[in-house]
Symmetry: C2
Subunit: 251 residues, 2 copies
Amino acid sequence: MTDTEETAETYDPSRYERPSVTVDVVIFTLIDRELHVLLVRRKRWPFEGYWAIPGGFVQMHESLEDAARRELEEETGVRDIYLEQLYTFGDPDRDPRTRVISVAYFALVRADRQRLRVSDESLDVRWFPVRAVPSPLAFDHDRILAMALARLRSKLEYTTLAFELLPEVFSILELKHIYEQIFGEKLDKGNFYRKIKDAGVLEETGLLREGRGRPTRLYRFRRDRGDGQFVFRWREARIDSGESQERDLSS
Amino acid sequence: MTDTEETAETYDPSRYERPSVTVDVVIFTLIDRELHVLLVRRKRWPFEGYWAIPGGFVQMHESLEDAARRELEEETGVRDIYLEQLYTFGDPDRDPRTRVISVAYFALVRADRQRLRVSDESLDVRWFPVRAVPSPLAFDHDRILAMALARLRSKLEYTTLAFELLPEVFSILELKHIYEQIFGEKLDKGNFYRKIKDAGVLEETGLLREGRGRPTRLYRFRRDRGDGQFVFRWREARIDSGESQERDLSS
DNA sequence: TTAATTAGTGTCATAACAACAATATACCGG
DNA sequence: CCGGTATATTGTTGTTATGACACTAATTAA
């Protein structure tokens, strides 16, 4: 029945063969106004030379989320980041070596905080524009990435997640650009201004940024307001977050 | 890096200590117009005598979903049911025996298809009204159940999931009752009729069910229409499915 | 000083929809 | 056949969301 129920009188951990468990973290960021994902190039069999989503083993003492944060930091040096569990992939043959169950997370990091470092476990680490990701990726990572993108799209529609991709201060049009990027459709400028302002999640900084035309007013995200439950949507239809239906999720 | 990457030249499965992996399945059904969840009573330590969400070990050859379906069938004898991955729980100390990572699923079964059987692994198996679930449950199962309920609520708002709880033929007011049950609020009869009919997901059966008043027209769910992508919503606000933010979705 | 460029506001018509009211249908029991 | 009960259905109305689009504002470059 529930976890580790057994028939024997006492519990014997060796009675069951155990799978390996890893966490993989799909890390998104915004570079030059474009959505990028972090990939590492594998050094060894299997999928030697293939690009893959960063990840690693879950250690016995750490929670799944802690493992994800640890991997994240080991790969990128980034901390205090938006992190959310995505889905768990456990097809018996997804790894040719042995049974590996992978708990996938997805993370959003701010463009202005990256400092990549290549660990000695891999050949290379790079940001790829999501529109130009090498294909195929190692293992079932194409599928993981696809699901992460679907989830991201989905959640932008009813959360304030977009702010996690922006620097501390930003303009409204920059925010609009993120939505356009990720939804893949143009949004009306006027309607966007109205909606975002009515939402009350922006805090005016008083700062201006000069450019070619009229200077841009810069805002800060008000974390207190609606960070959690707040909802605003740009389209009616929803593509879910997860699989068949969950895809599709939510989350 | 990605799954099971290691420093050694060849892969050695014994190098890493492995957690146990289980699937737990939160199974909902509708009995007497009320939402119920299936629980089993534990026979042994730990949490002997406590009620718990049914589940069991993932075997090496089966996928996670297969494992969930197997457990589902072992507990209820039910197959061909709505099944969706919920979340993976992996706190290091959630099971006092050893490190156990549990992939939770949630399932919806039709009220008219149940035939419970008590496995010899447990003392008892019962349907509990979700409003009257024994507390606390074993392990972290309160949390799992709470998340399953949140997900169910969330998904009713933008999917046709409610139909999975109904028998083959049903009346519109029965459908309305499910929404009221799960949302915990009354819906307007007129608006409900309008919305559900306009949605075009119902197929008239021609059957009537006689009662005290005017006989009830019975319908069937049109699986072809909108089973996947179709969206209709009853309220604006969304409570998500998962945790902090995953609080889904979703999804 | 004018054109170009980017930022930001206002207005309007429509669609969605919640709240509420009213009516029609069918059966029952007396 | 009449009142009661419950289902089934159709308005009606006011509010809100929002899509389309025109307009105004502030700055730089020529």
